[in-house]
Symmetry: C2
Subunit: 269 residues, 2 copies
């Protein structure tokens, strides 16, 4: 019986210790940042889907007008709501090109589409409101991502942006893991599928993963993209050590050095 | 010059005619119903994704509590918002099983998870609000689908339900096309991929597409599912002619006949 009591005591102690460990391991905000970037990506994807859907739906009422922004969507839906027709001035406000505004206004007046009944009007207005809400939600996430990426990974965020930094973190799983990764791994984070395809089937090796979202890479010529990715990955890996280990802001120097080397790469072409 | 004027006149006449035709072809509400069922499916998918995301996120704060409904989510988030701790009575309201409620309440008190800071609290509360809004939006769509499916396809909706009816319509492209489809085509609507796989590679032929969502099919034994799908498809195709061509409500008789045959199928097993 005495033995049993002792085991019980040990067990509860062990449980307590483990719980404390879990608490410490979740204490860092990086886990929230990872959830936030994932949620952001999911909402963003859904938002695009919803926008496409409402544009197609809108085509029932105005088959010859194409929507390309939420402002245009808003304009026409105001026209649904307030029964008086829209004025040409309303179109000037949304379409920069005056002649285009006039054209669209003409199309609006002579619509060959369907007339809405009350219950579908209610539904589509509600759907529009939901889409706007999705857009608002994205903005809120954007704000949080900016703030938190800059707080937790100031160097990496300075060299890339808040979303790329958060995605790198998300792929790595924790700041600690990310900070000890070699530059070559950072360069290929997010390109795992292509990498294993290369190893298994001998297809071309990937040159970049998440880093492809960098404007410096997207806008560069195909032939030098690999070099630029390598350059950025090298500097990011140094920046990450500043973020996590030495807690120093060294991104400005790193950025300067990136710009110098970029010039060299471009001159060599 | 006279010739040119004549062509111009003919052209504007032809344009006018075409516009009228477009207007007539969009006049029927069935096109709105198709947009609505597509939007419903997209929002529903996103909603599930968001719910999974927030459940995982919630795990940072309460790693040992699993969420399974939006009511539970609500309960804990109220706890985040009003700083006083939740009471055991609050748990009794949400969890039917009293002993389970007590267990979860204990876990809630001794959480081993992370404490929220202000900015992440703001973000996650906003995300919860957005998820609730998604749920509300789904309910609004549900209402519209019920109303409109019953209006446009009373027989089909009676035999299946508002979503299955709308999806059949969506797959067919228009009520007219759907109403002249043979029963065998209706049976396989939504199983196109499997059907072409069967034709091209000789895999097993599919037995049902959208109709698989019928509870009568989902709950039946594997061996008789094909028979039930054929039975339903046959009666739906008759019902559709009532919906579109003769405009008569004949679904009750059809339903009776379905039930009789179902009994026979089950007895034969």
């Amino acid at each position: 019986m005495k033995n049993f009591d002792r085991y019980k005591k040990i067990r509860s102690l062990a449980l307590k210790k483990t719980k404390e460990k879990i608490k410490i391991s979740y204490a860092n905000e990086e886990f929230v940042l990872m959830q936030a970037i994932n949620a952001y990506n999911e909402i963003s994807k859904s938002y695009n889907l919803f926008f496409e859907r409402i544009s197609e739906w809108f085509g029932l009422y105005f088959p010859d007008i194409e929507l390309s922004s939420i402002n245009q969507l808003n304009l026409f839906f105001e026209g649904f709501e307030n029964k008086e027709k829209l004025e040409i001035d309303d179109f000037y406000k949304i379409y920069e090109d005056k002649s285009k505004a006039t054209l669209i206004y003409q199309k609006y007046l002579n619509s060959s589409g369907r007339e809405l009944n009350e219950s579908e009007k209610k539904l589509i207005m509600m759907f529009l409101k939901y889409i706007k809400n999705s857009n608002e939600t994205l903005k809120n996430f954007d704000e949080y991502l900016k703030k938190t990426s800059n707080k937790l990974m100031p160097n990496t965020t300075y060299l890339t942006d808040e979303k790329i930094a958060a995605e790198l973190l998300n792929k790595a799983g924790s700041l600690e893991k990310l900070s000890i990764m070699p530059a070559s791994t950072i360069q290929l984070l997010g390109a795992e599928k292509a990498l294993f395809k290369h190893i298994k089937f001998g297809s071309k090796p990937p040159k970049y993963g998440i880093l492809f979202k960098l404007p410096a890479l997207t806008n560069a010529k195909r032939t030098i993209r690999g070099k630029i990715a390598r350059l950025y990955a090298a500097k990011i890996s140094i920046g990450l050590r500043g973020d996590v280990i030495s807690k120093r802001f060294i991104a400005e120097e790193l950025k300067n050095s990136i710009e110098k080397t970029m010039q060299k790469i471009k001159n060599k072409q």
